[in-house]
Symmetry: C2
Subunit: 418 residues, 2 copies
Amino acid sequence: MSTPWHHRYAQRTQRMGSSMIRELLKLTERPDIISFAGGLPAPELFPVEAFEAASSRVLRQHGSKALQYSTTEGYLPLRELIVEKMGRYGIEASVDNVLITSGSQQALDLIGKLLINPGDLILTERPSYLGALQAWRAYQAEFSTVPIDDDGLRVDMLEEALCGGPKFMYVLPNFQNPGGVTLSYERRLALIDIADRYGVPIIEDDPYGELRFEGEHLPPLVVLDADKLNGRQYNFQNEPHSYFKGNVIYMSTFSKTLAPGLRLGWIVAPASVIQHCVMTKQGMDLHTSSFIQMVAYEVAKDGFLTEHVRQIRDVYRERRDIMLAAMSEHFPPGVRWTRPEGGLFLWVTLPDELDSTAVLEAAINHKVAFVPGATFYPDGNTRNSFRLNFSNAQPEQIQEGIARLGQVLHNVIEPMPV
Amino acid sequence: MSTPWHHRYAQRTQRMGSSMIRELLKLTERPDIISFAGGLPAPELFPVEAFEAASSRVLRQHGSKALQYSTTEGYLPLRELIVEKMGRYGIEASVDNVLITSGSQQALDLIGKLLINPGDLILTERPSYLGALQAWRAYQAEFSTVPIDDDGLRVDMLEEALCGGPKFMYVLPNFQNPGGVTLSYERRLALIDIADRYGVPIIEDDPYGELRFEGEHLPPLVVLDADKLNGRQYNFQNEPHSYFKGNVIYMSTFSKTLAPGLRLGWIVAPASVIQHCVMTKQGMDLHTSSFIQMVAYEVAKDGFLTEHVRQIRDVYRERRDIMLAAMSEHFPPGVRWTRPEGGLFLWVTLPDELDSTAVLEAAINHKVAFVPGATFYPDGNTRNSFRLNFSNAQPEQIQEGIARLGQVLHNVIEPMPV
């Protein structure tokens, strides 16, 4: 018998990227390991009782409608809630600008399916979100990258990269995953200018924007883009949603504010783009679970989510502070890290010579885990950095885990000639 | 200003196929229309109270775990339940052979993403399931087709089509959507033989197999394929799940037995194929909602689903009988239809000269709706047929709707010269 037919497809899934996230999520399940690896929210903050009450209310009020097929666009009251929520961040949208997705991972997949042809170049930050790289590798995208620093994307290096002719740019402006850094206001303006000049659309991924626990909120790129369009005095007759003629597709999620196990995210875009997205999503899963959407709405409504997000911010601020203080205490000289003003992650840079994957092996022996930085580089070539999550572990675990990690880093750094 | 960048993508979503399903689902919402168009289960059978109790139990027993990220493969107890359920149909699987998907539409999308390169030929039944055509058009598949008759796929015409070199065959053996016909036992054996000879894998889509309300259950293709492999005495050392070395990927769903609004389906395949599927799904939505999977398990377990399916069969049998009797009474000579032994649909064939899309316009004026047959043909060229759903409407609605439709058909057929 010849090689089984399905062996031929191994190469394709390899191209989709390693199963690094999955393997790491498995690691985090080992109870003896203090894991800063996953991107998990703090589960003790999940409003479990509110979900129980909401599930009952949904089934009593809506009965079989909560369990029947529904429209691809998503549950209307949930889209209205998102519109109201977006409005608080200056994003003027209507329900026609909003599509519910099965988590923001589906939004990434959907955008890839709609926009990417094999061999297309996608411009990302360096490092960037692993899930986006994985989603788009499946469409045979190639990546070109621009580095980040403490003020986010190095916009001054953008034009050179744009000359490669990318299909779109992918940017996480707030508390970037994995870097933890935030794109400054000046760079946001410059980025919008350049994107408009080159006619290259921006995918603005904002899963953490609401989780700012320090400093001033900065306007989303989608808002600045719309301001720019308005400033040019385009003709907005018959265009009630003028904000959505622009160059930016915005996306976010309930995963970090309500619960990731729901798998609920959304895309905000010009209505015509949403129509294409709806047709694309229809072929992907028909629609996101009606029951889940109704339950999420029932939990989030009447200001509950807004209040709940305040609580999350307080807890995550405390955990970040504990982690930063522990790092200052335990990490050896020569190690640098970012100081995020929100979100779930910070980024550690080791001396150039070190490979964080090797450090991870040592760390696991010391019962502590993180994600090696190479995973977040499309070319995998930068190896001396890693990501730490500060949202999931308890304060005392953070202190203990960082102390262990400090010991590991002392072991690998101190023997080196200075 | 030049054309907005996103206008360039209109062509791509057009290639994905029309939004026919969506437009039709919208039609069904007009309360004055008796719709046989959608593929909706009977909502009054949804176990709403069981879902309420299950949601509470899940949140009380599992707490935040029900709301946290989980593994891509799916909730283990649900996969075990599926294994047990598959076993009753002769499919010997282990949990390593099962992947939970966000409805079987996602399984179709996933299979397309894994297997289809632009221009690949996919062999389908003629007519075939619209959702599959839509999912695979997005990957730029081309279709070659083999007609069905009352015994399902015309296997005698298969070899000619296989000479075109299709990537895989897509077959719905039980109560096919839209035809309502079932592939006979003899043809199943012949199909497996030919598939094996040509080395062309089969995607066996079986959403309705459990809903047989008449006649004998027939073995799934995946079982016959495994029997054939076993008969050849392959070396099964170190291969505990010998059934899954074969040529068939099997897929099914909870949409027609539990509730479609959950968006829960599954793929059964060789473990190595499932591993590729898992990596693919990871980039698509990370995983299907943990909460939904737990709730579905909690409802389905301890034999509840098995008992519930018996009830569905009884109701659908009655509705089919009422529809068939009404058709015999009201439809004019020259109209033929299939007599399904299960499932949700039957298929009506008009005299060759008639176009069912034109008939639909007349039907809507008479406040009754169906899906024109052309939708289900990849080339759209066969126009004298349409699909009727008998699961969703109440008995009295079925009688009234078929009477109205009979009137419409008399109007269009009688004026024609005989």
